[in-house]
Amino acid sequence: MKSLEVRLREIRDSGRKALVPYFMAGLSEDWTDHVAGAIHAGADAVEIGIPFSDPMMDGVVIQEAALRALGSGVTFDSACDDLARLATEVPLIAMTYFNIFHHYGIERSAGRLHSSGLSGVIVPDLSLEESPEWVASCDANDVATIFLVAPSSTPERLKLIAQSTQGFAYASARMAVTGSSSGDGEGARIVKAIREVSTVPTYIGIGITTPEQARAASGVSDGVIVGSALVQVLLDGGSASDVERFIGDFRRAID
């Protein structure tokens, strides 16, 4: 079992709901201060978006963040360099599209993630069927590959994904891209179904925009992922203390 999953199981088994915010790498010069602020305010793990020119699974907020980051020259390497300096005990999870890793080299990417302190990765356009080579490289580097389950996943696929995902299972609450709609949708149903076939921690994401929604979703799962709502704060010029306040509100709601 990957270090990430050991850690996330510990959190769950201690009775704590996990809070996982998402940041776009390099959105501003002080972006790692924002990550540190979130950790200080009680984030249990942090998702780090590596910008890609064609983010097929993302709505307007994260698209805008990716464009801005790309505009200021952010690369996979620069994001990794920044994160290596962050030096935190809280797990960091990369999230990007497969072409970034494909272009950088599969084995080289997995090694780079590990050496930069990233212990998990989400690649939304890498389907389970296309993933074996990638997963093998991550396996060799103690990097957990996290898969999503969608409301449209058939029972057979759900089972396959629940048994293949590492670290946690990402229950996508809605048939939507990030930030385009809100509410916990089918999260509860999906989590229940995953729990019937696997003991992996299960977090709900896609559509969690308010502390109230986070409270409801974490009540039926092991944690929540908050992306676009937080990125919007940063697009609007939010500071590290704004991030702390934002995360603090979510923390209190789910505890």
């Binding site: 699974m57 970034i100 389970l128 969608a150 449209s152 994904i161 048939m175 891209v177």
Partner: protein, 394 residues
């Protein structure tokens, strides 16, 4: 059986042509892609479905399209050139072949709405047309930049009852329209089919679209045989995503004919691209040193795509087909040449194929060789742009 019998057969069970293709889409769309594959395989083996597809193409879209010997151009170039006249198909290009197939399949799957991406608007107009004919709701995603460049096509789609959504993300052109259509598909996949416009995207699209376009090559091979040409020395088609080329190549892949795809120099995925993953497929893409996809730039919006269909990447890799690039400045001249010598104003996309043939006549196309030119579309949509260029306004 010779090696060549393998060409343009089914992709493997992972949806791959050699190393290219596959199904790189979010989990939310995997069930829809799998459902589509099953539905297509069943429909394509069902003589009733195939019969209906052929009948609609015949009585609605004007198939079979003729093969026209281009006498004056042939004399001018020292070649023997035949044109497969997709410009005479309804809506003015080969795009109708694919959308008739996909919209019939949409109904068969019990879905009542289609969405589509479009660049110049040709595929959007064709989709809106087929949707109107079959009583399906239709929404077309089009980059905002393209809606301004091709405002008449926006109006055409609206006349046909479709809704056109300008896409304001990214570079606001074709690749972003594909992204947006994919995003939208995630939210409406239960009742909506994504009618992709070329031999690209996740499996089964590249294969399915090639099959629906293969009618071009099947017809042309027979028509040429009737004219005593079996096979021609070369088959030439322009390539954006590669659907008209795949369709015509399919009739000749297992003959001795040279297969030649002509890309726009500013969108030459085979010439300047490298392997990558975009829009659900592993193929050749134009990208920077970090794997960020670059914008294509061409005089013709229909070739403004930074990738190429995975089967073409495979055919290039295997050495079965060759791909060349033509720069914008040669395209207008080719368009004028065909117009003046043959009375056919080709689409700017098609003019790329004409331009390459003109350049290579007497060179790699030896004097006297027989050439099949796939005349993918008519130029009416482009005349305002061409006029502006000839007047020095652009």
């Amino acid at each position: 059986m010779s090696d060549s019998a393998r060409y343009m057969a089914k992709p493997d069970e992972r949806g791959r042509f050699g190393e290219f293709g596959g199904q790189f889409v979010p989990e939310a769309l995997i069930p829809a892609c799998q459902e589509l594959e099953v539905a297509f395989v069943e429909a394509w083996a069902d003589t009733e479905f195939v019969g209906e597809y052929r009948q609609v193409l015949h009585e609605f879209a004007g198939r079979p399209t003729p093969v026209t010997p281009l006498h004056r151009l042939s004399e001018h170039l020292g070649l023997s050139v035949f044109a497969k006249r997709e410009d005479l198909a309804h809506t003015g290009s080969h795009k109708i072949n694919n959308v008739i197939g996909q919209t019939l399949l949409t109904k068969r799957m019990g879905k009542h709405r289609v969405i589509a991406e479009t660049g110049a608007g040709q595929h959007g107009v064709a989709t809106a047309t087929a949707a109107a004919r079959l009583g399906l709701a239709c929404t077309v995603y089009m980059g905002e930049v393209d809606t301004l460049r091709q405002s008449l096509n926006v109006f055409r789609m609206e006349l046909l009852g479709a809704t056109v959504v300008p896409v304001v993300s990214g570079s606001r052109t074709l690749k972003d329209a594909v992204n947006e259509a994919m995003r939208e598909w995630v939210s409406c996949v239960s009742d909506t089919h994504y009618c992709l416009g070329s031999v690209m995207g996740p499996h089964p699209f590249p294969w399915m679209v090639r099959e629906f376009q293969s009618i071009i090559g099947i017809e042309a091979a027979q028509q040429l045989r009737d004219l005593g040409v079996d096979p021609p020395d070369a088959v030439i088609a322009c390539v954006g995503g590669g659907s008209n080329a795949a369709g015509v190549f399919a009739g000749f892949a297992n003959t001795a004919a040279r297969l030649i795809g002509v890309e726009a120099a500013g969108g030459s995925a085979v010439g300047t691209g490298s392997p990558g993953v975009l829009h659900g497929m592993r193929s050749l893409l134009i990208q920077d040193e970090f794997g960020q996809i670059e914008e294509a730039h061409s005089i013709s919006a229909g070739l403004d795509y930074p990738g190429i269909g995975p089967e073409h990447a495979y055919l290039a890799d295997a050495g079965r087909a060759e791909y060349h690039a033509i720069a914008d400045h040669d395209v207008i001249e080719a368009l004028r040449l065909l117009s003046e010598l043959e009375g056919i104003i080709p689409a700017l996309e098609t003019a790329h194929a004409v331009a390459w043939m003109t350049k290579e006549a007497g060179q790699s196309l030896r004097s006297g060789s027989t050439v099949l030119l796939n005349l993918s579309g008519r130029g009416d949509k482009d005349v305002a742009q061409v006029r502006a260029i000839l007047r020095g306004e652009q």
